[in-house]
């Protein structure tokens, strides 16, 4: 294992986060706080409780997931896309580092950054709504697994993307509908049976449901199935990345 290389990549990526602190950390926190003000305090007080939980508290896990997904995909994809774009990737490709070490460095940093922001949002939420966490260990597990899986997913997008438009395609066009329709703001039990069935095709549903269960003990889907789905997603990403590095897809000609 080339630990020095992992450390170098990880610290390099984290340094980039520090340089862009305002954009990286402050802006997602502000935008999420706006959700809490609007849905938690302003409108939330007029919305019925969902499964015995106040609406503001109900949406908190979903909001954290929404930000975590977006941040992890964004960080993961940009981290590898940028060296590809400016050409500095030559150095990583010609260094004595294995695929696993490159991934640990980049994805580790992307996930760390995502989790820091997620934690800040969770802390912010306590100012607006009453939060309780019934299964803290499971909460951390869901949190970490999601951060790592989606950072991996982002990393793949970064390798695949040939230009900035493609880089933004998935985060802008695919992620918002999936998160908004994945039960972040409602319980899918409120939907008709048909749309409930359709929702089960949405991977984000499992994340939000499992994560919310770790907070309030209420879930749309069995938490074990949720955990299984997150793990499955993680494995799929790893398999695809293994293939990417083996063939040099879009990295080496």
């Amino acid at each position: 294992m080339n630990f020095e290389a992992i450390k170098a990549i990880y610290l390099f990526e984290m340094a980039r986060t520090r340089r862009t602190l305002l954009q990286s950390v402050v802006s997602p926190v502000i935008s999420t706080s706006l959700y809490f003000i609007v849905f938690g305090a302003a409108i939330g007080s007029r919305i019925q409780e969902v499964d015995g939980v106040s609406y503001g508290a109900f949406i908190t896990p979903g909001l954290i997931m929404l930000t975590l997904l977006g941040q992890c995909i964004g960080n993961g994809s940009f981290g590898i896309y940028f060296p590809k774009f400016v050409g500095t990737i030559y150095e990583i490709l010609s260094a004595p580092v294995a695929m696993s070490e490159i991934i640990i460095g980049f994805v580790g940093a992307a996930a760390t950054k995502g989790m820091i922001i997620g934690a800040i949002i969770l802390a912010t939420a306590t100012f607006f709504v009453d939060i309780r966490i019934e299964h803290p260990l499971m909460m951390v597990l869901f949190f970490v697994l999601t951060a790592v899986s989606f950072s991996l997913f982002g990393f793949m997008i970064g390798i695949w993307a040939k230009n900035f438009e493609q880089l933004n395609l998935v985060p802008m066009l695919v992620v918002p509908p999936l998160t908004f329709l994945g039960g972040s703001f409602y319980s899918i039990n409120m939907l008709s049976p048909f749309w409930q069935a359709v929702s089960h095709l949405n991977p984000v549903l499992y994340l939000v449901s499992g994560f919310r269960w770790s907070f309030y003990g209420i879930a749309d889907v069995n938490p074990l199935i949720s955990l299984g789905m997150v793990t499955l997603f993680l494995v799929v990403c790893l398999v695809i990345l293994h293939w990417i590095f083996k063939t040099g897809y879009r990295l080496k000609s």
Partner: protein, 310 residues
Amino acid sequence: MTPIVSIRNLTKTYSNGFQALKGVSLDIEEGEILALLGPNGAGKTTMISIICGIVNPSGGDVTVGGYDVIRDFRETRTLIGLVPQELTTDQFETVFNTVSFSRGLHGKKANPAYVEKILRDLSLWEKRDSMLRELSGGMKRRVLIAKALSHEPRVLFLDEPTAGVDVTLRKDMWQVVERLRESGVTIILTTHYIEEAEEIADRVGVINGGRLLLVEEKAALMKKLGRKQLILDLTEPLVALPAGLAIRGLSIGAEGNTLVYDFDAEHEHEQATIATLLRQLAAENIHFKDLSTRQSSLEDIFVQLVGEDK
């Protein structure tokens, strides 16, 4: 002595069908400076990229320090430093950090004293806290060299290191290369400035169209392929060589205004012929107003080789 870099039948065909390398074999000895010459698209960068692990080969083998570049990539890449052709840098990093990053990437523990030494050697120490985007092109080139040296490589690839670099900086750079060679580092450089290769290299390789046309000691190459020419500017143009002037290597140039005699300066007989030629010219009543000699440079040899290859 076993070569530090050994290339056997290396081929590369890109996915668009372009055949960049058509079976190159080359041994590079430890401690030498090898200059690779070749026109654009000859395959120089492709060859370097394969050795460094940036491009996958289509066929053939490469070993560095006895290790296979694909199977034992950790060993070979630890031995190699690469200065790429393009000025690719992380614009928002500082000089010191980017060089330290390169060292870490190559698995070496942080060593600020060593990084300081490199930066001082390359006259970059004053700029250590500057962001890369604030540097001039020449300074960026130095940073790339510093990055390539950060992990104490034994083999250094310089891909057109002096392209777009002014004369002073180029001289500085060659001093650095000279110092590296003295410390035992093997240097492989590609260049368009043939006079540079002539000045600095021990051996010269010429690549064209994905093939290595030759690799030779510079001195031997100049001796073998270098010619001398005697040029006579005539007072009156000649239409054809008179029958009495049948000397091998003599030809008419510049639309009959000059006589050109190609000869081998090492060859005593051919030297003697010059006197004969001048006597015969007087006999034929051919007068000249000026005479000059020139020795073919590496550039002439290169142009000739690449020209013949077409």
